[in-house]
Amino acid sequence: MWNRDRWIEIFETIRKNKLRTALSGFTVALGIFIFVTLFGFGNGLKNAFNTFFLDDATNTLWVYPAQTTKPYKGFKSRRRIIFRNDDLQDLQDQYGLLLEGITPRISRSALVRHKNESNTYSVRAVGPSHQAVEKTIITKGRYINQSDVENRTKNAVIGRLVAQDLFGKEPPMGKYVELNDIAFKVVGVYKDEGGDNEERMVYIPYTTRQQLLSGTDEIDQIVLSFRPEIGHAGALQLEGKMMRFLKRKHSVDPSDPAGIYIRNVADDLKQNQDFAGVLQYIVTFVGLGTLIAGIIGISNIMVYVVRERTKELGIRKAIGATPKSVIRMILHESIFITTVAGYIGLLAGIGTLALIGDRLEDYFIINPQIHMGTAVFATFILILFGAIAGYVPAKRAAKIKPIVALRDE
C-alpha cells in the first residue's frame, strides 16, 4: 500500500488519463452528492412533519359532548348532551390528583378590529391551563390567568400574526381591540411552533365569553392534561373512568358509542409517530435507491475502464507483469479515485445542505441534514462496490493470455 513506486505509477496513470479519471471520479462524487442531498431533504421533510404535527402537548385528553344514539333512563335518544362549568369542577374534584391542568374551550370566530385594521380570527375562550396544552409561548405580557377567569375581565392575548396584522409596528400591549364591537385590552402576545394558523388566534377568559353569550355556563369542550408519570396505560385508564363518570352524570347509556367523546392525544401521537416512521422508510428507500444507482454507475465505468485497458494490460503482462500486479494496479487506482471523489461529493453534499438551511421551509423542508455516520457509511459502500466492480473485470483481464490481449484493437 505504501510502496512509493506504485503510488508514482498510479499518479502518472491518473495524470495521463484525465478523461477516464474524471469519468469515474464524477460518477462517484455525483452519487454521493445526490445521496447526501436527497437523504438530507428526506430528513428535512421529517423535521417539518414533526414541527407541524407533533407540536402540541402529548399528555392531553379532549372531552366533547354530542348527541346520544340510545334512549336511557326515560330520556329519548338523539338528546343533546351539554357540558357546564360544574362538569369542569367535578372532573377537577374527582381526578385532580392525576391532572396537571384542566380547561374549557369555547371557540367562536369574531371580527377583530383595531383602529382601521380589521380581520376575522378564531377566538378561543379558555382557562389558564390552556397555555400548557397548546404549548403557547408568551413573548410579551402574560397569558389568561385565574383572576381574569374569576373577574370575567375583558382581557385578550393575541397571536404574533394578529398583532402584526392589526398593529403593524405599533406596540400592541395595553391597547384595545374590538371583538365584535366589544373592547378587549391586550395583555399578552404569544407565538406558537405549530405554524401560522396557530398564531392567528385570540385567547380570552372563558367566563367572559359565557357572560357575553347571555350569561350561560355552557362549555363546548374540556381539555385536560394528565401527569405524564401515569403513562399511556394510566391515560387509557383515566379516559375510561372519566367516560363512565360523565355518562353516569349525564344519564347516557354506558353502551352508547356516542353522547360523549374523549380524544386521547397519546393515541394521535402514536399514529403520527407511525406516519413519521413511514416517512423514515421512504427516506431510507430513496437513499438506498440512489446508492444502488451510484453503484451501478461506478460498476459500468470500471468495466469500461478495464475493457479500454485490455491491450495495455496485455503489453504489461508480455514484459513481465504478474496477474496479481495487474489486479493490484487497477484496484489501487480505482480505490484511490473513488475515495478522493467520494470525499469531494460528501463535502459538496453537506455544503449544499448547509447552504439550503431553512430556505426551503415553504416546501416543508426544515433544517435538512444527514447524519455524518450515514454519509461516511454510504461513501464507504460506494468505494467498496467500486473496488468489487473493478476487481471482477480486472481479474478476468489479468487471466487472459497476453497474446489475446495484444491482438485486441
Binding site: D5, I8, E9, E12, T13, K16, N17, K311, E312, G314, I315, R316, K317, A318, I319, G320, A321, T322, P323, K324, S325, A398, K399, K401, P402, I403, L406
Partner: protein, 234 residues
C-alpha cells in the same frame, strides 16, 4: 539456449481441431540470429508464441536456458518472460500514454528495480538504439522506426537471454527496415540470441540461419552467409 522437441499444437476452431504445429524439433545455440520464415498459416506465429511463453504446447518439451518450460502458472510465466525474454512486435505495442523512457523502464519496474536505477538503465538503453534525444517523447510523437527502436530498447532493458521479434519490420519502409536490421545485427554481435519471424527474404538473409516452416513442420533449416544490413543503408 533453446531446445524444442516434438512440439505439437492444435486449436479448436468451430469444433474441428486445427493442427497447427505437427512435431517441431529445433535447437538454437546462444548468440545465434535465426530467421523463421513461412507463408501465413504455416504456424510461425504459433511457434513464436510458444517460444515466448505466451502460449503453451500441447505436446513435446521446451527447454529454455536449461529450464523446462511446462505447466507454469500465469505468475511464473510472467516472471520467466520478464527474466528470459524480450519481445518486439510488428505493431510496436508501446503504452501510448507513457514516454519512451517510461516504456523502456517498465520491465525493470516489474523486476522491482528502484526508480533511479531504472531510469538511468532505460536512458542507457535508449542511447544504445540511437534515441538519446527522444527519451521524453510520447509514442505518438515518434516515427515508426523510432517506435520500433523504443520497443527494442524496452525488450533489452531487463537484459533477457533471448530477443523474440515478430515481423519487426512489417510496418516499416525498406530503408527503415534495413536500419533496424543493422541494429538487430549489432545487438546480436554483442552476443544476444535473437529470433526473427519474417516473410521477407532480404530481411531473412540478414540473419545467420533460416528456418523454413510449412504446414506446421520445418521443411528447411540452413546456415546462410549473412548479409550486412549496413551495406544496404546509404
Amino acid at each position: 539456449m533453446i531446445t524444442l522437441e516434438n512440439i505439437h499444437k492444435s486449436y479448436n476452431l468451430d469444433s474441428n481441431p486445427l493442427h497447427v504445429l505437427k512435431g517441431i524439433n529445433l535447437k538454437i545455440e546462444e548468440g545465434d540470429l535465426v530467421a523463421i520464415m513461412g507463408a501465413s498459416g504455416s504456424g510461425k506465429s504459433t511457434l513464436l508464441n510458444i517460444l515466448g511463453m505466451l502460449d503453451e504446447a500441447d505436446e513435446g518439451t521446451y527447454m529454455l536456458d536449461n529450464t523446462r518450460i511446462a505447466n507454469m502458472s500465469e505468475t511464473q510465466a510472467a516472471q520467466y518472460r520478464n527474466k528470459f525474454l524480450g519481445f518486439v512486435f510488428q505493431s510496436f505495442n508501446l503504452i501510448s500514454y507513457k514516454t519512451a523512457l517510461e516504456n523502456v523502464s517498465l520491465p525493470l519496474y516489474y523486476q522491482g528495480v528502484s526508480r533511479k536505477i531504472r531510469q538511468s538503465k532505460a536512458a542507457d538503453q535508449l542511447a544504445k538504439v540511437g534515441l538519446a534525444e527522444r527519451t521524453h517523447h510520447l509514442p505518438s510523437e515518434l516515427s515508426g522506426g523510432e517506435k520500433q527502436r523504443v520497443a527494442i530498447a524496452r525488450a533489452l532493458a531487463a537484459d533477457p537471454k533471448v530477443l523474440l521479434a515478430d515481423e519487426p519490420t512489417g510496418a516499416l519502409d525498406s530503408k527503415t527496415s534495413f536500419e533496424l536490421m543493422a541494429l538487430i545485427q549489432e545487438i546480436n554481435n554483442q552476443g544476444k540470441t535473437i529470433i526473427v519471424i519474417t516473410h521477407e527474404h532480404d530481411i531473412a538473409h540478414m540473419c545467420k540461419r533460416i528456418v523454413q516452416l510449412k504446414d506446421g513442420v520445418i521443411v528447411d533449416d540452413k546456415r546462410i552467409k549473412q548479409v550486412n544490413a549496413l551495406a544496404h543503408v546509404e
